[in-house]
Assembly symmetry: C2
Homo-oligomer: 436 residues x 2
């Protein structure tokens, strides 16, 4: 049988149900899909292809999934660090957003975000921001996959004047993009302290009407939890539960200040959680109860949050930091072992975004979204355990090639779908204006 391409690897982490690791493996790809995965010998016997890629010392694994970000904020990377949260937000981030956000800003900044993420092995991002139509076009042009949701708020910003206007935006965005191969629209009510009951209900109804996921910030700060309790006399998760908001279509970002009874509700409703360790640490927001959530069966996944509070969009770094910090917090070095961390970053991420049938593992019939990492590096030598190497020692810069939806977008560590230097130049031009 003829494949479009056959890609060999010393190791393939399939992330299938048995977490199969294939040594001397290969993937056969046809169109957008994985035709087959097996040993190189098996694949070579069953398929022929004019394009066979065989590198020395590499590992292939499913594309990493960033389940919570505000990708366009890369243009504000490092604009205000080491500051108290309110000063950071009120005096720096919000004024910068109010001044600069526009379809052009989003279009240019999203290119930089996609470039950074793809080069670091991230093939999908789940975004909540503004002017998402520009984000969708830019992402599709670069060849990355994304779940995009226009932020919904109760107060006016440059991109809307009222909840109904944001919702109307969201609806037309859904209609425009539903069914696209790379872009999945979602509904993104910002948070419980920025969206009232009516807004949340309407957002939920719209998500149900169009069968799209919901993306919301939840319990990121102590202040927010107190605010919700004061307004509704309920803890945040119980309040959402009272609205019938929670189910497996919901992706809740942060989830730091949750009590055990709230974690049980999230588990029962099969809601996904995006853990944004580095942002939570840097803003001193707190430590999410990740070990408890995992033990309760909550699907915990990785998000970077925006680059203004991280300061990168590096999921490999989140994986390493998260695994280590939660071992120490739980006083248990066996917590968050490397395989669990890899699941969180791949299959569970896909499932939490409603994409589990298409991506998240390397299996026959799924889309060909994968990363090939170069293991021929000092910090990855010697090699005893491929999973622990990826989680504890690999860097984003070890990513050698990335395929999304059957198309190579990164080869030899370079983006091939757009001009890297042009993207960087545009970013510098914007930042000169922003700084001035």
């Amino acid at each position: 049988m003829i494949a479009d391409s056959i890609i060999a690897a010393d190791y393939i982490l399939t992330m299938d149900d048995s977490l199969t690791v294939i040594e001397n493996g290969a993937l056969a790809v046809k169109g957008t899909d994985i035709l087959d995965v097996g040993t190189f010998d098996e694949i070579s016997r069953a398929y022929t292809s004019e394009r066979v890629t065989r590198k020395q010392q590499n590992v292939i694994f499913p594309g990493l999934i960033n389940t919570h970000t505000h990708a366009a904020m890369v243009y504000f990377r490092g604009i205000a660090d080491d500051l108290p949260l309110q000063e950071w937000l009120n005096n720096h981030i919000w004024p910068a957003e109010n001044k600069w956000l526009s379809p052009e800003f989003i279009s240019d900044s999203i290119e930089l975000a996609c470039l950074e993420m793809l080069k670091g092995g991230v093939t999908v991002y789940n975004d909540m921001y503004f002017f998402e139509d520009s984000a969708a076009h830019a992402t599709k042009k670069i060849g990355m996959r994304a779940v995009l949701g226009s932020g919904i708020l109760d107060f006016p910003t440059k991109s809307g004047n009222s909840p109904d206007e944001y919702l109307a935006h969201a609806e037309s965005f859904i209609k425009d993009w539903k069914g696209d191969e790379l872009i999945s629209p979602c509904i993104a009510p910002h948070a419980l302290y920025t969206c009232g009951t009516e807004t949340l209900k309407k957002a939920k109804a719209m998500a149900e009407q169009y069968s799209v996921p919901l993306h919301i910030h939840l319990a990121e700060t102590k202040w927010e939890v107190e605010e919700v309790k004061m307004r509704y006399r309920m803890k945040p998760v119980h309040y959402l539960e009272s609205l019938g908001f929670l189910d497996e279509t919901v992706l809740a970002a942060h989830c730091i200040w949750l009590d055990d009874d709230e974690i049980e509700v999230l588990a029962k409703r099969k809601a996904g959680v995006s853990h944004c360790m580095e942002s939570n640490l840097k803003l001193a927001s707190g430590f999410a109860p990740v070990v408890t959530m995992l033990m309760s069966g909550v699907k915990v996944t990785f998000g970077t949050d925006g680059a203004a509070s991280n300061n990168d969009l590096n999921i490999l770094s989140e994986m390493s930091t998260t695994a280590k910090v939660h071992k120490a917090l739980s006083e248990n070095p066996t917590a968050l072992d490397a395989k669990t961390v890899l699941l969180m970053a791949t299959r569970w991420g896909a499932e939490a975004l409603g994409l589990g049938d298409r991506i998240g593992s390397l299996e026959k019939g799924k889309r060909a979204d994968f990363v090939s990492m170069n293991l021929n590096k000092p910090h990855l030598t010697p090699l005893y355990d491929i999973c622990s190497h990826i989680v504890y020692a690999a860097m984003a810069s070890d990513v050698d090639a990335v395929m999304v939806n059957g198309r190579f977008v990164v080869e030899n560590g370079r983006l091939i779908t757009a001009d890297e230097q042009e993207i960087l130049s545009k970013a510098r031009q914007w930042s000169e204006k922003i700084r001035a």
Copy 2:
């Protein structure tokens, strides 16, 4: 005046007393030393050189300093992860060490460690391990700087049978290497639970006799603190103080389980502390009271510990993780700001190792030990604050060039003093034997 080389940079972080950052700067180097540092215009007017290096978009800062490692353990990187501490040590690390350590093992593995560290911008490491004479020769051959101490224990290992034998080893190592330009010998009694009172006293006396630094593990685990209290009816720091052990020549690694009164003693005695965040997290040893130590005036610096518990020798990663984790622990996003973190990784590291007069900042008359980092990267674009970029966004792989003692050892991201692929091949050969 003629300089051997002039190296320009968009930014030079001098890390001098005023933390001067020079835009469009340059360094003039002659022999092993920094002849001058200033703006490119100033340096160009005052000096001529046949070798002028001028790259676009780079930053130069003092070489990073790894104040606690067991460098040769890179050959055990990832050999046993996600395990309880005792199982990790007793069933994996100690048996591997007992079986494999030899002068040849150390000589080969140190090359890999130096390669990894230099490529990540680390120009000095402070080592405690065995067969340090082999480590010294390998390090010097690669052209890196190190403070090396043969481990001193009360029990026999492959490298010694008794405390006196270890001490005799240490003494001859000191005599052989004292005065070397790159290698500084030190005395390294392992810890309070592995060295009795007599051994510690003899180690201290030898350090004083030869004016060399002391390197010791301190308060890494709760168990260790309980053990010390049981044996000596004193907390670890008070016990060392009672022996007259503590002064500014002491570098204490870990310092996790310290009470405030012990921190005060460390501050009063001006002992340096090596904070090994990632190793401490990964082994679930605990969180060192870094913010309290810094507020008390203790010189806290960065160590990677061995790669068997980290799993890399990456100081940039330690800087980022440490800054973020301690913000969250202290619930204060202004804690461990980027400039403090850079001081810890450079000047304070040099001072804690007794090398403050020679390295740690880029100033006239100091040795030319520095890193040039390429800023022309997606994750470092745009750039608003050079210090926060290095701490929060840079990766080891962004290091472009490294000079140690006036000699370039890394250029264009490659080691130029030895063959990288040969070092990696040797590591793979050893690991095949170790695995078998």
